[in-house]
């Protein structure tokens, strides 16, 4: 119990003193996971909405794949992305292994199926005739997609939170593809694992608290947006 108290004290101190290393780690966490989430939103919402609205042969298989992708173990993603990005691997020419960019890539791979799956369910849940009515108003396919996405915004905001939550807390893939390099590719989760491994439990707890705070604040903002939509 006093270990946790130690941790809280340390967390407070680290934050209040604007410890540069901690600030750097926190900012990087936000940047990497934020970018990955944004990428996953782009791909996830467009693919999810399209699959929800189109009938095509093999659709059921695609939907199962998406749903399976939601449960994809991040560590597995990390392993495969690492192998691909190895210098002598298929994507080695990009030279991005052990960089934040690789972390963004891996996290985007993790988050995209989550966002896609939730979007798919959300759009499928919309009233069946709504699509027809939108087309009847003279909308182009693109306009129709956009309007449907706006109609599903409550669920889509949930998708954003799920996607972001999944990657801000991710550690396995991030360590593998990022290398946890000090001041460069070290984020809150990877730093926590490292400090725990070294036995510095107070620092580890402090970082965990900061991570929790960060996740909470972001979700607070998103929830506000979501529930504000509700009230209108």
């Amino acid at each position: 119990m006093d270990l946790i108290l130690e941790g809280i004290k340390k967390a407070f101190w680290l934050l209040v003193s604007f410890d540069p290393e901690v600030l750097g780690i926190t900012f990087l966490s936000l940047k990497v996971s934020g970018t990955a989430t944004l990428i996953s939103l782009f791909i996830g919402i467009s693919v999810g909405a399209s699959v929800a609205l189109t009938r095509f042969p093999g659709r059921r298989i695609v939907v199962s794949l998406i749903n399976t992708g939601m449960a994809l173990p991040p560590v597995v993603v990390g392993l495969f992305v690492t192998i691909s990005l190895w210098r002598n691997g298929p994507l080695g020419f990009m030279g991005i292994l052990y960089t934040p960019l690789a972390m963004i890539l891996a996290q985007a791979v993790i988050a995209t199926p989550i966002v896609t799956g939730i979007t798919l369910a959300a759009v499928q849940q919309l009233p069946g005739k709504l699509r027809l009515q939108i087309l009847a108003l003279g909308a182009t396919r693109l306009q129709m997609l956009w309007i449907l996405i706006k109609e599903a915004k409550l669920s889509l905001l949930a998708a954003v939170m799920a996607g972001f939550g999944g990657v801000i807390s991710e550690v396995g893939a991030s360590i593998m593809v990022g290398g946890n390099i000090k001041g460069y590719s070290r984020v809150l989760t990877t730093a926590t694992v490292m400090e725990t491994g070294r036995g510095n439990f107070d620092v580890a707890i402090a970082l965990s608290i900061i991570l929790l705070l960060l996740a909470y604040l972001i979700n607070l903002v998103l929830t506000q947006v979501q529930q504000r939509e509700r009230r209108r």
């Binding site: 210098r87 030279g95 491994g197 070294r198």
Partner: protein
């Protein structure tokens, strides 16, 4: 109605900003050095001192990848690292024999210590031989916590068990954590068991742990570090120039001086002993 579009634009702007800031996060390939080392090495904090000096001096950007020594060696074998700084002499020798490395040079050593509860139920305190200590612990069936993760420490531990001829595999008193050194020490402290630890990690945690050093100084407990450049003939993508620069740096007089005094201020004794230029057989004498 105006604010509806505003949000969309803000989103796009945020994306654009992030993508732009993204472009600054990758470095030029030739100026990058991938150093594969072990978690215990990194945990000593020595590299946090040396790397910035090296970077400033040479302009290289060093990516220190700290993993288990097994993985570090494999990275070297696959050409995914440029230079190795590890402490598994047996595995390293094979690495060199198989032609994966060029120019393997001795850098420093630290040592392992056998630590345990101060009341020392197995009565090993003060023994000069690590093997004897292990034998005694086995016969006393004293609780022993092993890292069990094929790290350098774990390999050393297995070496000593083998030499001592003691049965330990599968015994009730022998527990494997699969964790790093720091965590394993914590487990040993919690459970009042014995363990084999590198002096550096032990010293870093000594204040909070209730474990004492019971056996030290045996030659077999030496943990010897070499810096090895990966062979570019096998893997053309290896940054051999950077690797050589790093290896040269590690054995240079200035660096060796830093190694000599590292840890004294914080722990009262140095964590490492610089050995550049010496012969391995002469160590520990």
């Amino acid at each position: 109605m105006k604010h509806q579009y505003c949000r969309e634009f803000m989103l796009l702007a945020a994306i654009a900003l992030l993508l732009v800031s993204m472009s600054s996060v990758t470095q030029a390939q030739e100026k990058t050095l991938i150093l594969a080392t072990t978690t215990s090495t990194q945990d000593t904090g020595l590299l946090d001192v040396l790397i910035p000096i090296f970077e400033k001096k040479t302009g290289y950007f060093v990516k220190t990848i700290a993993v288990g020594s097994g993985q570090a060696m494999t990275m070297g074998q696959k050409g995914e690292a440029d230079v190795l700084l590890v402490h598994s002499p047996t595995a390293e020798k094979k690495f060199m024999e198989d032609g994966f490395g060029v120019s393997r040079r001795l850098v420093m050593h630290n040592d392992f210590v056998i630590v345990g509860p101060s009341d020392d139920p197995a009565k090993i305190k003060g023994l000069k031989s690590a093997g004897e200590a292990f034998k005694k612990m086995a016969s006393a069936q004293a609780l022993f916590i092993s890292r069990g993760d094929n790290s350098g420490t774990h390999s050393k531990e297995k070496e000593i068990w083998k030499a001592a001829g003691a049965k330990y595999e599968g015994e009730k008193w022998y527990q494997q954590t699969g964790l790093g050194m720091g965590q394993t020490l914590n487990v040993a402290a919690e459970k009042k068991g014995y363990t084999l630890a590198d002096r550096g990690t032990y010293l870093a945690l000594a204040k909070t742990l209730k474990l004492s050093i019971l056996v030290e100084g045996d030659a077999v407990l030496l943990n010897i570090y070499h810096v090895t450049e990966v062979n570019p003939a096998k893997w053309p993508k290896v940054n051999i120039a950077a690797a050589k620069a790093f290896a040269d740096f590690m054995v240079s007089k200035e660096t060796q001086e830093i190694i000599k005094t590292y840890g004294v201020e914080k722990y009262g004794s140095p964590l490492f002993f610089p050995d550049a230029g010496k012969k391995v057989e002469d160590l520990g004498k």
